[in-house]
């Protein structure tokens, strides 16, 4: 495919992600940090985020399955997840985490389980989107082009 076309699709896709609220401005900041000295920065951060998130979600699932639910621990995990998702700009995941934390405070197991589902769902969604975005990036780079900057 043509580099121009790829770049245009990349931009459109990114804009749609912003519009739909999957990502916020922080993601833009990350893209700014990617330069010659750090060409794979975004990819690295996103990969790290995926790893971290999988781990946290597993921990959360385990914790909520216990007989005696340790809300403190759950809160800590959710706090972590909130931190990382906000660092990467995954807006919807972060908002879900905030809601989760509120229910944690209320010590409501059922609600927490539901929140977990919600968070997982959001995470999977954003993961798919980010993977698609990264694939596009790779394609552009492979075609010899540069990843276009967002001017938001």
């Amino acid at each position: 495919m043509e580099v121009d076309q790829l770049q245009r699709s990349f931009l459109e896709y990114t804009n749609s992600l912003f519009r739909e609220g999957f990502l916020d401005g922080q993601f833009g900041q990350l893209q700014l940090l990617q330069d010659e000295s750090n060409p794979e920065f975004v990819f690295e951060v996103v990969s790290l985020f995926f790893e971290d998130s999988e781990r946290i979600l597993n921990d959360l699932t385990l914790a909520l399955d216990q007989q005696n639910v340790d809300f403190k621990k759950i809160d800590a995990h959710v706090h972590q997840f909130k931190g990382s998702s906000s660092s990467i700009g995954a807006q919807r995941v972060r908002n879900a985490c905030i809601a989760f934390r509120n229910f944690c405070e209320g010590q409501n197991v059922e609600a927490c389980r539901r929140c977990l589902q919600q968070v997982k769902q959001e995470y999977l969604l954003v993961k798919t989107k980010l993977e698609a975005l990264l694939r596009l990036e790779q394609q552009i780079l492979a075609a010899g082009g540069v990843i276009p900057m967002l001017d938001s």
Partner: protein, 803 residues
């Protein structure tokens, strides 16, 4: 008898030689021979001779008449009855012929002549009868022609007359126009009137024309202008004369008697005075002009114009002349009113100019005075307070020493008086600045909590000396920070609370502060206070309730007035000048608020309530973790290359992002995941340490403390900055307390980090604008020290003096 013998007779005569002797014989012969007719009378008789002559002349006349007729008819262009004329001519000719032939019958004539004569007569008879018959038809026509002619002549005469009339009218009209033009071309009253009289006199050929104006009292008419006399003497006539009433009651010109008082203007001469006419001239006033209707002649003021025709002229006032006079009178009225209006407006304009000048002068004087006063205040402000406080302080000190009773009394008096004086000075200085609006609020961001804490701290000692309790309750929805004039707000609060303490002997004071909702904003007693809530402001409502002596509800309005003290207060010699609350009111008004006091009566305590409008400093929400920060001034990229920093964040993603940020800015970053690692890793070379303090279970503050301890003695120890996702106050306060130089909200944008770094490097700490969460480390004494000292001393004194 046959007349054949005539020829024979002539021949017979010539044949006979002797004429004379044979005349009679000849005649006889002739007669016998010619068969002639003898005239009845002898030809020589005198009568016959006369008849002969008459016949001759008649014939002559009869022949000449047709000739004349023909001649004149030929001359005239039109003559419709030619046939009649012919007939008439024939008739006349025949008559003439008859008479002519008659001449021959006087002598002996032959039968032929007789026959001719008879023929002529017969013909004449026929023609004359025909003519007579014809004339019967014609003469009526001829007569009617005459009648018509007469009629036309009459008509022509009438038209002539009318033409004359119209011409006269038109001339009159022209005169009126000219007069009007003359009158209206000037706005000077005198000129108008004089011109009127002159022109009227000229147009109408008057002997005298005069104008009578009503006097100021309205009871008399005074002769003001005349045509002939240059300086009319001030004749006056009473206005209630019947003739005058008659004239005034109609808008028409009225003929009056030349003997009436208004018409007796000339020395009575032997001549027959001419007719006099008078007309009213309405004098219109400015206030007669309503906006929507023309001035009806409801005005009662009229002037009288009197016009006199020349005496002995037998002239009469014609209708058109009267009309002219009426029209002129109206025009004069209008012109006069215009002149009056103009005069009025000129006068008003002059007045206004004078007033302007006076006002300008007054303004300049006032400005000078204010300037002088401000200069004075500026100087005296300090100069006056200093000695005052010296007196108070030293007198207090003196009071503490050993004194004899009289001395003590003296010192107490000195103290009381100087307290009073100090209060007075302060209040007066403040109030005068407040009065002329030159006082401006000094806006700034401050902490509401600290304000109340401080006020409480100030008032507690005094209250506890009086054994009064003081409670403070702040509603949770109060914002932590507000934008406003902290100093003045403190002053108001202190004043109100101080008053509460002053007038309470037992019990205590309770202070409540909350955000005023719209229904609690309105005081039903102050309908003009319309607080309008908005996004950037909120209304702070503070209620100070005391269990003191209360206030009579009737006195409440006077509380806020200057220099007014109700009796009980004065009796207590409270030391207040009565200005305190007035100043508070002024300040509260400046803050777009409202202050009032409620009390149920004497002995029932009182509640002072005031509401002020404060701004909300830049908003911070939980949901908006990313917010825009304006890049200050210079866009030059500061050089952070090689700057050694440490980042501590247990969240791997966050750690990576922060590190990426700093690396991008050129720093040399060491990223650690735990507090222990951080403390161990921090070295002298690191300039900045970014600590994530939102880690639950980890006391990042302790980390900070330990880092500080590690480099406690070094002047250039690393700057510690907190990174947090929390926005609550305690975090900030704690950070600042442990010596962190700044608090930043995560996630940080590139620009933000850049600014933070440059600020840190420049100042060594994060300035207010860089700190994303503002906080005060120390709350300064924000009101004037004088205020506090004064209040403290006053209260202490009062207590001591048993008040």
């Amino acid at each position: 008898m046959p007349w054949l013998g005539k020829v024979n007779g002539v021949i017979a005569v010539s044949k006979l030689s002797k004429r004379r002797t044979n005349k009679a014989l000849v005649v006889h012969i002739r007669m016998e021979l010619c068969n002639c007719i003898e005239p009845p009378w002898p030809a020589d008789e005198l009568l016959m001779k006369y008849q002969y002559i008459s016949d001759f002349f008649i014939a002559l006349a009869y022949f000449s008449i047709p000739l004349e007729l023909i001649y004149f008819v030929k001359k005239s262009a039109v003559f419709p009855y030619r046939w009649v004329l012919v007939q008439f001519g024939a008739f006349i000719v025949l008559c003439g012929a008859t008479h002519l032939i008659n001449l021959w019958t006087f002598t002996m004539h032959t039968r032929t002549v007789a026959v001719v004569m008879t023929t002529a007569k017969i013909l004449t008879a026929v023609v004359s009868c025909a003519t007579a018959l014809m004339l019967v038809h014609i003469i009526p026509d001829l007569l009617s022609v005459k009648t018509r002619e007469l009629f036309l002549k009459n008509k022509a005469a009438e038209l002539d007359r009318e033409m004359g009339l119209i011409r006269t009218q038109e001339e009159t009209g022209r005169h009126v126009r000219m007069l009007t033009h003359e009158i209206r071309s000037t706005l000077d009253r005198h000129t108008i009137l004089k011109t009127t009289l002159v022109e009227l006199g000229r147009t109408l050929g008057l002997e005298e024309c005069a104008l009578w104006m009503p006097t100021r009292s309205g009871l008399e008419l005074q002769l003001s202008y005349t045509l002939r006399h240059q300086n009319p003497v001030g004749f006056t006539v009473p206005i209630q004369l019947p003739v005058i009433n008659q004239v005034f009651n109609t808008s028409r010109a009225v003929k009056i008697s030349p003997n009436s008082p208004v018409a007796r203007l000339r020395p009575v001469g032997k001549y027959m005075p001419g007719e006099v006419v008078a007309v009213r001239v309405p004098l219109l006033h400015l206030n007669n002009f309503q906006i929507h209707d023309w001035p009806e002649l409801s005005t009662k003021r009229y002037a009288l114009m009197v016009l006199m025709l020349p005496s002995d002229s037998a002239r009469q006032w014609h209708v058109h002349e009267l009309e002219l006079v009426e029209v002129v009178a109206d025009q004069v009225a209008v012109a006069l009113s215009h002149a009056a209006i103009l005069e009025e407006s000129m006068r008003a304009r002059d007045l206004l100019m004078e007033q302007n000048v006076a006002l300008d002068l007054a303004r300049r004087e006032a400005e000078t005075a204010v300037r002088a006063r401000n200069d004075f205040l500026a100087v005296m402000n300090h100069e006056m307070r200093t000695p005052m406080h010296a007196i108070i302080a030293l007198s207090s000190l003196l009071q503490e020493t050993e004194l004899m009773p009289e001395q003590r009394l003296m010192v107490e008096t000195i103290l009381k008086s100087s307290n009073l004086l100090a209060t007075l000075i302060n209040d007066v200085l403040d109030l005068s600045r407040l009065e002329d609006g030159s006082l401006q609020l000094e806006m700034g961001t401050f902490s509401l909590h600290s304000l109340f804490r401080e006020a409480l701290n100030l008032i507690k000692p005094i209250a506890s000396v009086k054994r009064l309790y003081v409670t403070l309750s702040m509603s949770p929805d109060l914002p932590e920070y507000a934008v406003g004039d902290e100093k003045r707000l403190m002053q108001v609060l202190l004043n109100v609370v101080g008053n509460a303490v002053k007038f309470t002997k037992e019990g205590g004071i309770s202070i409540a502060a909350f955000v005023a909702k719209s229904d609690s904003l309105r005081d039903p007693r102050a309908p003009e206070f319309f607080p309008i809530p908005s996004d950037n402001h909120f209304y702070l409502r503070i209620e100070v309730k005391d269990t003191g002596s209360g206030i009579n509800p009737q006195d409440i309005p006077k509380l806020f007035m200057k220099f007014v003290q109700s009796q009980p207060l004065a009796a207590k010699n409270s030391g207040g000048s009565g200005l305190g609350l007035a100043i508070c009111k002024r300040f509260v008004n400046l803050m777009e608020g409202h202050i009032w006091i409620e009390s149920e009566g004497i002995g029932r305590g009182a509640t002072a309530i005031f509401i002020v409008k404060l701004g909300i400093p830049g908003r911070l929400n939980e949901s908006k973790l990313q917010f825009v920060h304006k890049v200050p001034g210079n866009q030059v990229k500061p050089n952070f290359s090689g700057l050694k920093v440490v980042v501590m964040d247990d969240n791997s993603v966050g750690r990576m992002v922060t590190k990426g940020l700093l690396v991008h800015l050129g720093c040399d970053v060491l990223a650690v995941a735990s507090g222990e690692d951080c403390v161990r890793a921090v070295s002298q070379e690191h300039k900045v340490v970014f600590l994530d303090v939102s880690i639950p279970g980890v006391d990042s503050f302790e980390v900070a403390v330990r880092i500080h301890e590690k480099f406690s003695k070094r002047p250039d120890r690393p700057i510690i900055v907190a990174l947090t996702g929390n926005t609550d106050r305690t975090t900030k306060e704690n950070c600042l307390r442990v010596g962190m130089k700044g608090v930043i909200l995560k996630p940080v944008s590139l620009d933000k980090m850049r600014n933070v770094l440059s600020d840190l490097l420049e100042h060594g700490y994060l300035s207010e604008s860089q700190m994303t969460i503002t906080g005060h480390e120390v709350v300064k004494m924000t009101c004037s020290e004088d205020e506090v000292v004064r209040m403290l001393l006053v209260h202490a004194q009062e207590y001591k003096l048993g008040l």
